[in-house]
Symmetry: C2
Subunit: 299 residues, 2 copies
């Protein structure tokens, strides 16, 4: 019964109203987040922090933010929630700037695609049991900038949270509730596991798209069809964002690349010796796995 009471109390406290949010980085993700908060979270002031006046103005114009700031210090002191939405490489600098200014009870989260290094850095700056709860909403676009922001970007998608053993459970619950309010499902997993899975289902595929785009001669592309178009769409993503993803998921990327290479060399050998049944088995295995899983997402 004590457990039940604790749980109810936790739920109650997790519901405490968020009245002031600072979003650092008002690009596509930050802008969409502002729009979603304005639509879903009731009366909340959303402060936007950016490096460029033009992006801040666009974010204001579309109603994604209520106030615009070139200096994070101006916005953070009043915030119940601060969300880092710059490329991952910018997190450390901003965490150092905001750390001394955070009000009591404020929570910091992010929307970055890698987690181990972010969690380590945030722990060092804000304290291991500090107010940082790492998030990775699995939503995005190859488009860039607040002009492509969409209030429904997060709707129906999954948000992965990567608490550590020292993350206060109350903060975790509040961040879970926050993403759920925006229409997301939440899943919790350790940072290193997140990074391993993402290397395999997202970061390595991104790298493959980049290489597939560089491999043909430019003239060859006139004879490409929808297959290559779909396979290279990720290569239109922002180079700065993805540079930081690859840099901050180094170990798991190297391991995923080695695994890809191993499979590619196995296929190479089968083609080299003309092993028809071996090639057929490999292709059929991939087809069966896809049709048992993600093929149901095909449009």
């Amino acid at each position: 019964l004590t457990a039940g009471w604790d749980d109810a109390k936790l739920r109650l406290m997790a519901m405490e109203r968020i009245r002031h949010v600072t979003i650092i980085g008002v690009g596509l993700l930050g802008g969409s987040l502002g729009l979603a908060i304005k639509r879903r979270c009731g009366k909340v002031h959303v402060a936007g922090v950016g490096r460029r006046r033009s992006s801040l103005k666009q974010a204001l114009d579309i109603g994604a933010i209520d106030s615009a700031h070139l200096d994070a210090r101006q916005a953070v002191a009043e915030s119940d929630l601060v969300v880092l939405a710059t490329p991952v490489g910018g997190f450390e600098g901003y965490l150092r700037i905001i750390a001394p200014l955070l009000k009591r009870g404020a929570i910091v989260t992010d929307v970055g695609s890698t987690k181990s290094q972010v969690v380590k850095i945030a722990g060092r700056i804000l304290g291991a049991a500090g107010p940082f709860v790492a998030s990775h909403p699995l939503a995005g676009s190859d488009k860039k900038g607040p002009q492509h922001a969409r209030a429904d970007l997060f709707q129906g998608a999954t948000c992965i949270l990567t608490p550590t053993g020292q993350t206060p459970v109350l903060m975790l619950r509040r961040i879970e509730r926050f993403w759920k309010t925006l229409g997301m499902r939440t899943v919790n997993m350790p940072p290193h596991l997140h990074d391993r899975v993402m290397a395999r289902v997202s970061h390595l595929p991104h790298a493959a798209a980049v290489i597939l785009m560089l491999l043909p001669g430019e003239g060859d592309l006139a004879l490409s069809a929808t297959g290559l178009r779909d396979m290279t769409r990720l290569a239109s993503g922002d180079a700065e964002v993805w540079r930081d993803v690859l840099l901050t998921n180094r170990r798991e990327m190297l391991s995923a690349i080695d695994r890809f290479d191993e499979l590619l060399m196995r296929l190479r050998d089968l083609i080299d010796v003309g092993d028809g049944p071996g090639i057929h088995r490999l292709l059929q295995r991939a087809k069966n796995r896809r049709e048992g899983t993600i093929a149901r997402l095909d449009q």
Copy 2:
């Protein structure tokens, strides 16, 4: 002026009516071809040849063919045009069967994705200056079977023809006209060049999709998003068709795999040493190239 006359005469002769077509292989491509011919070519008898009664019946039911044959010999003798639409590995057997039965003036073509080996085999069986003009309509689907056939599959797409130096120009013109009647643009190139370009823009991407599908653990796929879904769509393609493509484009596939591997190892090194500017340059180069070319095909 002689040239002008020849040209006009060639055009006239190329327009000679096709009244009877045999399609060997009534899957998605063969079925779509039948539907397109029935819609676009006026009064033509389309004979379908298949290995399975069920596919032949479906092709008859949707109106893709007028007569169904388990034995190619029954259909071919009356045909002005024979189209090979089985997996590439089946072409040689059918060419041997039909060779002695073709009527004078009949043309044989195909819809296969590789050309050098096909052209060589057809030359051996039908004669180097014989009635074979190789075609590769750049149209398809990851779906299989005549039930997914579409009359507009070829509409607006490109068809690559790979004549040799000995292909009679009159036959080439007739086959060009045939595909144009179905709404396609035609491009001519030598077989070996076709196979090199296709290895880079189609066959290697297909192999990469297969490997990307096999790399993650099956549980990891629950956390994948639209990026992986789009990148692996090709892996849902028919295993028999693609086995034959990889086997019959051996040399160019090995070369494309080696080039892919070289680029992948270059990226691996950049990640390994943490070379941010180097990674950014690579990503930006791929992005620029995509946006200058195939990004305009994005939906």
